[in-house]
Symmetry: D2
Subunit: 352 residues, 4 copies
């Protein structure tokens, strides 16, 4: 319970730092008999990989995953699945200049306050690089959920900074670096990002993630509701500052006669609830929305202090994502998959 | 890990149903030597008690708490604190009419799908009545946090349906039934609620909760970040559909040069981060915001189905909160206290 | 994870002290649809109840259990089952004399060292009275295991102090206060206990517990092996100082050609393994053995110290079991039931 | 909670198979600021390494550990410590003959029953090879315990099959391959083992492990007593069939006036309790005893069945420990260290 394990029955334990020798995860509790290869995982890692467009960090990491255990003759055995990803493009010198100062809005300050020790190499443990093992584990969950229950998980960006991205079609999503569900708006997003990079600044964004095909009945009230565990997982993702389900914050201004989704013999007539009632899945699509803050590592000079609490100006060079949310879609999908698979197993344990 | 326990070192296990003989909680892991009496807990229970104004459910429950264990000669012993609250105003007949149908937006549908069994007495386990044991446990955490660290937790309603409630002063909060931080707006809120009750409808609201005095260093990244555990606790509260930290969803449209809080030798110059950086408290006030959906139990007739999946019209009589958020402020405060105390102990365990 | 909860999916949280107002447990994770009444639990509580023969403590407790939640119309709902047992025969004055001294071999010393606070009323939390809620929870597990899998759990005393008790028949077990599987030896046990009581001393004993009908496949290696979790539960029982499986410590002197149980098409040809191979049940009867130390509260005067570390002589009057193992058989059965049910659910979750 | 993680605050997650590419562990919750290098861990791994005498398996594994994370500039950072050990001498062909049959007394039968899949390569996950990551993690705990509290953990073999090994001196222990605390008896042990190997058989043994310097107050009653968690850890070690504390099973025949350790102003006058009272450490040395069964993989032909349940004769060739207990001493020490460090942190969390 020391913070680096996600899940109760399907458990993902994450280790590593941005610029250490390797990062990885151990998945415990995966059912036996799932066909699994490194290719199943690599495809998801490649979706969140850095360096794939000019709008993300230019760090070059192949993010090649090695399965160390838990798979025999192409099938999971039910024992822990060890996953290893070597860091290959760590340039620790980039960070030497900032080892003694704190970036406004960055975890380097709070890590130092907590542990009394600070690993300045690329943000160390607080780096978004540590989402790679999460994505790797999520690939296993995603495959199992599809195979066992036909659950399909996907996501997209619905707003980039001030630019809302109207949903047009899922087909557009994989065709642009933003996971935007709208091909027509991509040039505008590109231009915005180019200007932002030129300014040396960063920007927030909003991500939507969905799961279709989730059976009714998953979730463990009172406290470990399905939506509570989703909120835990999503708010645990770097830079996320808000999580909502279904109509989310819009429910504040809504009446019960409007928000409560009516039922007919053919099913629900709306989905303001976002697929969860009382913490238990209702059988409708799960709808999750994330607010992702702008990256704190920017080229623009900012006021800060150093360890001695002297005032300093801080300017962060090196390789950073100007919009960390651009690569967040596959990560949020992975987190949703992990939570869902965990609850599928929990439900099976108690109620099968 | 079956869903009814909150926390890792400071653990609250909740039991009971709305119309069963009793509800309660067991608190495990409380440090020894804390002065504690039933009065310490009762004061918080009274803040969330039903029937205290015409705007909430008229169920009459004294919510008297009995401490069954864990306290000797007025001090906690370090062993489990058993808390018992008898239900005294259960009227199960109110609910007999709805036992076979499903209220749009209510958990009775998903509970039935999950467990195959349904306790229709006042929503059974899914009732907001089960927040009382949470509040009782939170009273213990709140007292300990204040005494050990000077942490002060408080909250207020910032929006009621379409009416934003501008923050005026903390002094106004306990003086009205809405926990509104603005005395001038109360008549408008009263009028809105009176009309709503007349309409037989319900309404959403937005709640803000804060903790001041939290030291830097609490939180367990990667997954059990302080904000992730807060999101888990808050999204686990009945009717909550969104949780955000600091500037929350506004970060989507912000630039890094705006969102990242600068530091000076006198401390931070802003608090867009809401007191958490990289999942660890920064020493600033913790700022949490909740979206609470409108109650699903309303008098207005709605389309639904019965267990046989036949179409029916559902109208919910009985005693219900037309705005469940009105009583949510002390509950959200309690949840924040529980999460903070748990993380205080976890931090002490690893880093003291 | 603060020590008063047993189990992962079937979870029992225990609270109370020997001389506080009440003791009890919350069971979380019980599957829905199990027929359950207070009578199902009371029968097991009556088996471990004090005061039923002259060989056990003369404290008179009816140990009447009240189900507070989790059961609706005679069936479990899948939500937490709250169990309450009021203390009715607490005589705190009995213990006032010992509040400042430490009984040799008793937990009062270590509790004081740990918590800095001491509840001297009947041993407070360390009292064997706290096994009652465990037995109550075990009754639920036992019923479910029998119904779902035909698992039958029973136990007996195999040695009382220096007197080995040869197994004769299960029929004898409920017919004597010792749970001795041998009617002929009972007069010898009675005489031994009468003399012991006359001496003001206490004695150890050995208990055997078995589960028949456990399917092959329960247990979670590496660390949470079925036998590891059994050892955890049993060593957690008051006064237990040793736990073994199958041939137990006799394996030390055995050869592999003797200890390894051969298989035939009709099943195993022996059960030295005690029903567990590699931490997973093999389908054979589970065989568990416990060493129970003599009670530390005796009338014979002994050397000790008081809180000021001055030498004192301690003599413990009041009502105590001269052989705490006499009532241990139903408790050990309950613990075995809880562990097995937990692993049944865990196995179902991962491998169903 | 899927079985491959040990501990609550100091958590060790173990992965790997005997003949897969690698084995390892992730340690979560280690306090920051502990000086740690691979050499600190390697010294313990070398103590349990195979192939170091003719009495153990002749598999040649350097068991070289690589620290993948959690250490920066020679100090732990408080973040997860990833440990990797590559398998280098896997010879899967040795096991092909047994893939379809079950060794009497071996986990291959129960693993197959549980998972429906079997990794026959050297026992796969059930191999004693998986104790290496446990030993690596234990090295970290051992170092921390010594540094923070002066706790010293050591063990020895007290019986090899029918040969009791009288304790003579700690100095003898590292000087012979058996961890025997008696130099004079070593020739007898050697002769016994040579004959056993000649016979193609295996043998059990008894191991004692101790911790000196443990402060009073560690342990979490009711269920997670210090001795309960020790029993869990030890019974979770391959081939262990019995665990006892202090006088252990001898307590069965003892009186309270004999077993209860008296106190004087200078401390306890005996240690029948083995350093634990009521589940909490008393400040005395912790005394733990283990019964280790004989290895099930032997050259002698035995009756068994194959997957089709046909009768077969099984003879296990390949490289096996004829007495798995010979290498168990450092493993049991590591497990004791892990449990103690976990409880040290838990105690600090609640009671510091």
């Amino acid at each position: 319970m020391s913070g680096n394990t996600l899940g109760t029955l399907f458990r993902v334990t994450n280790f590593g730092e941005s610029h250490g020798p390797a990062i990885g995860a151990v998945i415990d509790g995966c059912p036996p008999g799932l066909s699994l290869s490194e290719a199943d995982i690599q495809v998801e890692l490649d979706r969140r990989r850095p360096g794939t467009s000019r709008h993300v960090t230019q760090r070059r990491e192949p993010d090649t995953v090695e399965i160390l255990s838990g798979v025999f003759e192409g099938q999971t055995t039910g024992t822990p699945i060890g996953l290893l990803i070597r860091n290959t493009d760590a340039r620790s010198k980039d960070y030497s200049a900032i080892a003694d100062t704190f970036r406004p809005g960055h975890a380097d300050y709070s890590y130092w306050k907590k542990y009394g020790i600070r690993d300045p190499r690329g943000g160390g443990r607080s780096s978004a690089r540590l989402t790679a093992p999460t994505v790797a584990a999520g690939a296993v969950a995603r495959k199992w959920l599809m195979q066992e229950y036909g659950v399909r998980i996907r996501g997209y960006m619905s707003q980039l900074g001030p630019i809302p991205i109207p949903f047009d079609s899922w087909d557009a999503v994989p065709e642009n670096p933003f996971y935007a569900p709208n091909a027509a708006i991509v040039p505008q997003l590109e231009a915005f990002m180019d200007q932002l990079r030129h300014d040396g600044d960063s920007i927030g964004a909003r991500i939507e993630v969905q799961a279709e095909g989730v059976p009714a009945g998953w979730g463990e009230p009172l406290y470990d509701r399905l939506d509570a565990d989703i909120a835990h997982a999503m708010m645990g993702l770097n830079a996320v500052k808000g999580v909502s389900i279904g109509s989310g914050f819009e429910c504040v201004a809504m009446r019960g006669s409007e928000h409560g989704d009516e039922l007919s013999p053919d099913g629900f007539l709306g989905n303001h609830a976002g697929g969860v009632l009382g913490g238990i899945s209702s059988g409708q699509p799960l709808l999750v929305s994330l607010a992702v803050k702008p990256t704190s590592s920017i080229r623009i000079e900012r006021h800060s202090v150093n360890r001695a609490n002297d005032p300093v100006m801080v300017q962060t060079l090196g390789r950073h994502d100007p919009c960390v949310a651009i690569r967040a879609t596959p990560i949020a999908e992975a987190l949703l998959a992990i939570v869902l698979m965990d609850h599928a197993l929990r439900h099976r344990g108690q109620c099968s």
